[in-house]
């Protein structure tokens, strides 16, 4: 895979480049600020971009803004955001275009190399990966959306795991049920949320978005 990396801390950037190299991925660009990231994303069109939310020059949310701007021009450009914090508001903005191929995880997740690479592959493949922290924060709320309110407890659990980017097999493993049961739950979720096949290829993304909007 061709990967672009945007990270202002030298050690972390270097570590990422080495990690990706060790697993046979090509790092086409490694930048340390927002404007450059935007340029690189448009010029190189990487298979996936790994972006730190907070970047120079303002050290606020340049990474997110550069990524969103690039995705506005190149719809569905896969972006995995890394951050010291997860902010559900940012997750919502990332998902808002409904195109999928986005991820938003804590920087800590980098320490588990194999897991992190799986996350990258999922995002590159058009999946949606939200950090368990985002999901657990949103789980604490009361449900406002009537469509979400009609989900059973188990279905909400399944939806939470889908938001973390798990495959059907992954959900089945986490809940200790059969894959067939998971598929049935997911079918029910789509029906209850009014997501019908054929309308969009991204029913999973749309379901997660509905979940975040809560």
């Amino acid at each position: 895979m061709r990967v672009a990396v945007a990270e202002d801390h030298f050690l972390l950037r270097d570590g990422l480049v080495r990690l990706l190299g060790a697993f046979g991925h090509e790092v086409v660009a490694a930048v340390d600020n927002g404007p450059e990231l935007h340029k690189v994303l448009l010029a190189e069109r990487p298979d996936v971009a790994i972006v730190d939310v907070r970047l120079p020059p303002d050290f606020s949310d340049e990474g997110l803004r550069a990524a969103l701007a690039a995705r506005a021009q190149v719809p569905g450009l896969p972006v995995l955001l890394l951050s010291q914090y997860v902010e559900p508001l940012y997750a919502r903005e990332l998902l808002a275009d409904g195109a999928g191929a986005v991820g938003y995880v804590l920087k800590d997740r980098v320490t588990n190399g194999a897991e992190f690479l799986r996350t990258i592959q999922q995002v590159a493949g058009g999946g949606t990966v939200m950090d368990p922290e985002v999901v657990s924060k949103l789980l604490a709320r009361k449900v406002r959306d009537q469509r979400l309110g009609s989900l059973t407890g188990r279905e909400r659990e399944v939806l939470g795991l889908l938001a973390q980017g798990r495959s059907n097999a992954g959900v089945a493993e986490a809940l200790v049920v059969s894959e067939k049961a998971v598929a049935k739950h997911i079918g029910n979720i789509f029906t209850k949320l009014g997501l019908y096949p054929g309308e969009s290829d991204n029913r999973r993304v749309l379901a997660v978005l509905a979940y975040l909007e809560g």
Binding site: D61, P88, L106, D108, K137, L138, R141, K142
Partner: protein
């Protein structure tokens, strides 16, 4: 129509002068007779009346009269002995002014305020005489019916009384607005504190809020120090020890080393999580990145209540104000979810460029009954806002709804960093 309204206002002012007579009498009695509890109550009644007069002066004539807060507001002590009571009354300049004003107003104010109304009434009497004067004098046999200098006995003299009445009524209407303004000026002249007093009150306020701010930030630093010491620091020490153990067993027991390394990684994750939570409590990243509007939206997104946020902010407020207001809103939102049995929440943020004031209101549909005097949370918010000369108002009748309003005077930063 405006003049008729002014006559009505004069009438109201006249009524207030009767109230003033009541309270000035009460205060005089309270000074002279040692009835327990009478003096503070009389003084409190006097203050309520004065506050109302000040409000009327501002509303009707646009004349604002500042008041220094009474030094013993709320807990006026019962003074023993005639002399002590006198000293209590005259010792505080603000209270003395109020007493002087109430006593004077009950006579002077009453007389002035009743003039326009009396003239209008007298004018109506004149018009009545024009219509029925000759009838009253001739047929009903009323003798000695005088209107000013006119002896009403037949139609021409009746008409003359009518003309004079018209003039009197007109004069009353014409005088009314001036009288209302005159009242406002009288309030200002007798009740306005001197520059020096205002300064003294301001300094006392600043000293109190500064010491609060210092206390708060010192307590905050202690909490951060303790959290670091018990949390992340301890985890890092444990991690160092685990890595050390792993190093020692590197050659003879690779399996144990693998377990130790996993443990070290878990420790590093836990330390990071603790640091994250700590930083969120000091200054939430979304507040730093996006400013108040998005930070409050994020609060709303995570609140267990269905929250609606409306924001009208042309630019970001100064960072310290932003942070204080954010934490005040966060506390209010938490309270609403915890105590109020609320289902819905409305947060409204607006900036009034005219007065340079940031206004925030948080309303919920809970069962109400929030009292800043009891809950330490609301008192804490009040203290935090007071550092910036901000104020908090709680309107929470039993049965709800609860509305918490905050107002903080502040400047906005240049629109370059606008986020909304």
């Amino acid at each position: 129509m405006k003049r008729v309204e002014a006559v009505r206002r004069c009438h109201r002012l006249w009524w207030l002068s009767v109230v003033a007579l009541h309270w000035s009498t009460m205060v005089h009695i309270a000074v002279w007779t040692p009835v327990p509890g009478l003096l503070p109550r009389a003084a409190a009644g006097m203050r309520r009346l004065v506050d109302r007069e000040r409000a009327l002066a501002a509303e009707w004539s646009g004349i604002t009269v500042e008041a220094t807060p009474a030094p013993t507001a709320g807990k006026e002590r019962e003074a023993l002995g005639l002399l002590a009571r006198y000293r209590w009354l005259f010792g505080d300049a603000q209270r003395f002014r109020e007493w002087r004003w109430t006593t004077m107003y009950s006579f002077v104010g009453g007389l002035i305020a009743c003039v326009p109304g009396a003239l209008v009434l007298y004018g109506l009497w004149g018009l009545f005489l024009a219509a029925f004067g000759s009838y009253l004098a001739d047929d009903a046999g009323w003798d000695g019916l005088w209107y000013l200098f006119v002896h009403v006995e037949d139609v021409p003299t009746g008409l003359m009384a009518g003309l004079l009445g018209l003039a009197a009524g007109k004069t009353g209407l014409w005088l009314a607005p001036g009288t209302v303004d005159c009242h406002a000026r009288f309030v200002r002249a007798t009740l306005a504190p001197s520059e020096q007093e205002l300064m003294a009150a301001r300094i006392a306020h600043l000293a109190a809020t500064r010491s609060d701010a210092v206390d708060t930030s010192a307590a905050e630093l202690r909490r951060i120090e303790r959290d670091l010491h018990d949390g992340a620091q301890a985890r890092l020490v444990a991690m160092g020890m685990t890595l050390d153990a792993a190093e020692h067993r590197l050659n003879d027991d690779p399996e144990a080393v693998r377990a130790l390394l996993a443990e070290a990684r878990a420790s590093s994750s836990a330390a990071l999580k603790e640091l994250r939570d700590l930083v969120r409590g000091i200054h939430p990243p979304v507040l730093a990145d996006r400013g108040l509007a998005d930070a409050v939206r994020s609060l709303a997104l995570l609140s267990p209540l269905a929250a609606e946020v409306t924001v009208d902010l042309p630019a970001r407020p100064e960072a310290p104000v932003e942070s204080a207001v954010y934490f005040a809103v966060a506390e209010t939102v938490t309270n609403a979810a915890k105590h109020g049995e609320a289902e819905r929440l409305w947060i409204d943020i607006a900036y009034d460029a005219g007065t340079g004031t940031l206004r925030v209101s948080v309303t919920d549909d809970g069962r109400g009954g929030a009292d800043p005097a009891r809950g330490s949370g609301l008192a804490g918010i009040e203290r935090r806002l007071a550092t910036f000369d901000g104020v908090l108002a709680v309107n929470s009748p039993a049965g709800g709804p609860t509305q918490i309003s905050m107002e903080v005077p502040c400047a906005l930063q240049s629109p370059k960093t606008t986020s909304c």
